[in-house]
Structure formats: structure tokens, C-alpha cells
Amino acid sequence: METIVQNIQTVPLNNYIILSSVLFVIGVLGVMIRRNAIIVFMSIELMLNAVNLLLAAFSAFRGDPAGQIFVFFIMAVAAAEVAVGLAIIVMIFRNTRSIDINFLNRLKG
């Protein structure tokens, strides 16, 4: 464990912040631009993983385990979300034979 923390600390903290910000922005753009429900869903997972990376880096640099525990929470909850989200996407595919979210524009106003 000690060596992992030391290895993480060999890279400056700013690089971690920049990397996870870039990943997060890619995720946000993916949600906004892509129209395939699965890809949008993957982009959201990318956002969550950017947060995980950031939390792990902060946790290692501060020597505080709380951040890593939070990462476990996020992973567990993301798994639960995947279960529900994929079920919703399958339900929609059965009804419309498509997972394009542009098909879903019946509600307007």
C-alpha cells in the first residue's frame, strides 16, 4: 500500500487534476453530442470515473483514506445505476426497436 501511494505521488498533483478534468469534459461533451443511449450512458460512466481518479489522487496526496472509501461508494452505486439504466434502455428497445434518443420526442411543450 505504501509503495502504491508513493508511486502515485511521483506524478505532480496538478497533472491528475488536469487529466481528470479532461476526462470529465469528454464525458460531458459525449452526453451532449452523442445520440445513442448506450454511448450517452458510457459518457456518464466516464464522468464518474474521472471523479474516481481525482478522489484517489487527492486521497494519496493528503494521506487520508476517506477519499478512497468514497471511490468504493461511487463504484458500488454506479453498478446499481448500470443495472437500472440498462433495464430502461432494454425496455425502450423492445418498444421502439431503437436506442436513438432523438426518437424520444413525444413529450413537447
Binding site: 450517452v40 450512458f41 464522468m47 476517506a66 452505486v77 446499481a80 445505476e81 425502450i92
Partner: protein
């Protein structure tokens, strides 16, 4: 805390009741468990106990909002007999999901640690994603579920990124530790910290459907089954606001002056967008969705004008709004079942055949509009008072102007009920529990409108 345990256990028991086909016992058992939970919260008044290594803090603020959300859930469950049966035979799952989501709500209103906030929001939201899509063959319900799910997780991403940045600056998820650090820094804050709080504000604005992050709300509220919508627009919204304001009261009170312009703009845009678009709606349900956005704007004013009375003002507003909203949706469900339409025309001449339902809906519309003698008036009054005391004259002026505009769309349905002639002579049939809910809602709205002192001095 006992309340959380009771509700979780009873939700599991209800799943078993469904397995053994004891459908008649589900709602009574759930209501009894919720009453027990309310009692356990009421007994904890003024005790201020920490749970789970300071992750939950059940103070009076948490107790008031817990009791409010549980009581609203009781009203909604009392409306449910006969409703879920039409959708599918698996009634037990739906009631259990509502109770599970209520557990998340209880975590959200009493959190003292950002991990608990996150867990609470997710427990609540994941159950609601399923509930929004329980009409599996109905495309509107499907669309609502997918939009709610995608936008909900998107918002969670923002909230988490904000939490991570705040953690990077302070080294803690605990609200009180963060608050101490903020106080020591004397109102100064690093860019990282400010960015973190901004991300959290964006995430929470999605959750409370504040403009410009509101676009998912009308579609979701419109597409989801009406009973689920009433839960989303009352309990979920109340809990999100309680969590939002708790974040600022406990942790970020020292740096809120940095975010005054942001919150000011959010509140102003939300009020204007909600009210103006609500004017152009043809269906009652969609009008209620936009009106719920405008109410989010009014409640944002209380967060903006943060002070010792803010928690109380938001509580009063949430009480008035939840009760009125539940009773409006209750009537909508019955009118929809009778006329198979949610448009304003479906309410034509309701007063002639069903004078009592028309009266109940009139009271709830008056409360939503903020007419004196109803609870909604004092809700707005308390919020505007604290905002004026802090010098937000322009924003209060704007809000009052918009409250006047809102009369138009709330009175549209009242005019339809009393002035227009009905298309048929059919009467709406109510069961006992349905009548009970409408009576409780009407009496509570008038009572809190005549005697605001009952609730206003609690916090």
C-alpha cells in the same frame, strides 16, 4: 435513525407480502410503518444525535424535513389503492420502491458528510428511475424514465466532481470540518474550492430542476404516471431543497457571498422561465410541472438570502407546496380516469357535478398561487421577508411580479371548473382514503394559512 430502520425493514416485508399475494395488507402496513417512523422522529426532537461516525446528524432541521416527507408519502400511499393495480399486478414492488426511495430522502435531509449526501441522492433517484417507467408499454413513460435516468446520473456526475474538488481543498467530506476550515480562511477561498462549490450548485440545480438546468423536468413529470409525478414534485423536490440548503447552512455559510451573483441569476431565471412557459401549456399536468419549476425559483431565494430564518422559510414553503401539489395531482388522477384527458378542458364544469372536488382543487390552486388565507401565501411571505431584510429588493420585486403572472394559469383551471359547462353528467367516485387525503390537504392548507405560527417558530 430508528425511522430509517423501520422503513427499510417494512419495505422488505412488503416485498414478501407481494410474494404471498397479501395485496390488501400492503398499504395499511406501509402507512402504519410510516406513522411509527414519524413518531420515532418526533421523539428525537431537540436531542441532536450523531450517527455512523458523524455521517448523519439528526438535528431539528432534519427532523422537521423527515416528518414532512414521511407525512407527504403517507398521503400519496393513501391515494394509491386502485391506482397501481391498473398498471400491473405487482403492487408490492411499487410501494416497496417508494419506501426505499423515502429512505434515501431521510439520508438526504440529515446528512453531515458528503458521502451520505451522495448515497441518499442515489438511493432516492435509482428507485425513482424505475418508478417513472413502470408503464412498460407506454412510450411516454419510457421516455420519462430514460430522460430522468440520463439527466439524473449526469447531475450526479457534476455533484461528485464538485465534492471531489472540495475534498481536494479541505481534505474532508465532513460538513462541520469543512465549515471550520472555511471560517478560519476568513471568507477567502481558493479557485479549486470555488470551482468545487460551483459544480455542486450545478448538480443540485439539476436535482431541484432550477433553470437553466430544468429542461428534463417537464418531460419527466408529464410522462411519468401521475401518482409518481406527485411523489417526485413533492417529496423528491422537498428533499433536494433540504439537502441544498443544508449544504450552505452547515458547510459553506462563510463563503456564500462569493456565490450571491450565481444564486441570484439562478433564482431569477428559474422564476421567469417557470412562470412564462407555464402560461402557454394546454394540459394541466404540464402546467403543474412548469409551476413546480417556478416554485423551485422561489425556494432558491431563501438559499440566496441565507440567514438564521432560511431553513424555516424553506420548510414552510415546502409544507404548503407539498400539500397543495398532492391534492392537485389527486384530483387530476380522478379527472383523467373519468375524461381520459389531462387538458384544461377536462376540468370544464367540474363544480357542477363534483362541487367538493372543485373546492379542494380551488384551495390547492390558491395555495400554489399564494393567495392570502392559504398556506402558500405565508410560504411566499416568509421567503420574501428574509430576502428584503438582506436587501434583495430587485429580486423580490421580480418574484412578486411573477407571482401575479402565475395567477393567470392557476385561475385558468378554476375558471374552467366554475364558469364553463360540463360535457357530461358523470360524477367522480372517491374511495374512503381518497376523501381522507383531500380533506386533510384542504384543512391543512387553510389551517397553516390562518395560523402560520404553528409551524413558523419551530426551527
Amino acid at each position: 435513525m430508528t425511522g430509517i430502520i423501520i422503513i427499510s425493514l417494512i419495505a422488505i416485508v412488503i416485498l414478501f407480502l407481494g410474494l404471498y399475494k397479501l395485496d390488501k395488507a400492503i398499504v395499511p402496513l406501509a402507512v402504519a410503518a410510516l406513522l411509527a417512523a414519524i413518531t420515532s422522529y418526533a421523539l428525537a426532537w431537540n436531542t441532536n444525535i450523531y450517527y455512523f461516525n458523524n455521517m448523519l446528524f439528526v438535528d431539528n432541521f432534519a427532523i422537521l424535513f423527515s416528518i414532512l416527507t414521511i407525512a407527504t408519502t403517507i398521503l400519496i400511499l393513501l391515494l394509491s389503492p386502485g391506482y397501481f393495480e391498473k398498471i400491473s399486478s405487482n403492487v408490492a414492488e411499487y410501494v416497496a420502491l417508494i419506501l426505499f426511495s423515502l429512505v434515501g430522502v431521510l439520508c438526504m435531509v440529515s446528512y453531515n458528510n458528503f458521502s451520505m449526501l451522495f448515497i441518499g441522492i442515489e438511493i432516492m433517484s435509482i428507485s425513482m428511475y424505475i418508478m417513472a417507467g413502470i408503464r412498460k408499454k407506454d412510450l411516454a413513460s419510457n421516455e420519462a424514465a430514460l430522460k430522468y435516468f440520463l439527466m439524473g446520473s449526469f447531475a450526479t456526475g457534476f455533484l461528485l466532481f464538485g465534492i471531489a474538488l472540495v475534498y481536494g481543498f479541505t481534505g474532508s467530506f465532513n460538513l462541520e470540518t469543512i465549515s471550520t476550515l472555511v471560517m478560519e480562511s476568513g471568507g477567502q477561498a481558493a479557485a479549486l474550492f470555488v470551482a468545487g462549490i460551483l459544480f455542486m450548485i450545478v448538480g443540485m440545480s439539476f436535482k431541484v430542476s432550477a433553470a437553466p438546468f430544468h429542461f428534463w423536468a417537464p418531460d419527466v413529470y408529464d410522462g411519468a404516471p401521475s401518482l409518481v409525478t406527485s411523489y417526485m414534485s413533492s417529496v423528491v423536490k422537498t428533499a433536494s431543497f433540504a439537502a441544498f440548503i443544508r449544504m450552505f447552512i452547515v458547510a459553506f455559510a462563510g463563503v456564500i457571498h462569493i456565490f450571491t451573483p450565481t444564486l441570484w441569476a439562478l433564482a431569477a431565471i428559474t422564476i421567469i422561465v417557470g412562470n412564462v412557459i407555464a402560461l402557454y401549456q394546454d394540459t394541466f399536468k404540464r402546467m403543474l410541472a412548469y409551476s413546480s419549476i417556478s416554485h423551485a425559483g422561489y425556494m432558491l431565494i431563501a438559499i440566496l438570502a441565507l440567514g438564521p430564518d432560511s431553513g424555516n422559510a424553506i420548510f414552510y414553503y415546502a409544507v404548503a407546496y407539498s400539500i397543495a401539489s398532492v391534492s392537485a395531482f389527486a384530483i387530476l388522477i380522478k379527472v383523467k380516469a373519468l375524461k381520459n384527458s389531462e387538458s384544461f378542458d377536462a376540468f370544464n364544469g367540474l363544480a357542477k357535478n363534483n362541487p367538493k372536488s372543485a373546492l379542494a382543487l380551488t384551495i390547492s390552486m390558491c395555495s400554489l398561487a399564494g393567495i392570502p388565507l392559504t398556506a402558500g401565501f405565508f410560504g411566499k411571505f416568509f421567503i420574501f421577508t428574509i430576502a428584503i431584510n438582506q436587501g434583495f429588493y430587485w429580486l423580490v420585486g421580480l418574484a412578486i411580479l411573477n407571482a401575479v403572472v402565475a395567477f393567470w394559469y392557476y385561475f385558468r383551471v378554476i375558471i374552467a371548473m366554475y364558469m364553463k359547462s360540463p360535457s357530461s353528467d358523470e360524477k367522480i367516485e372517491y374511495g374512503f382514503s381518497y376523501k381522507l387525503v383531500l380533506w386533510i390537504a384542504a384543512i391543512a392548507t387553510l389551517l397553516f394559512g390562518l395560523l402560520p405560527g404553528i409551524l413558523s417558530g419551530l426551527l
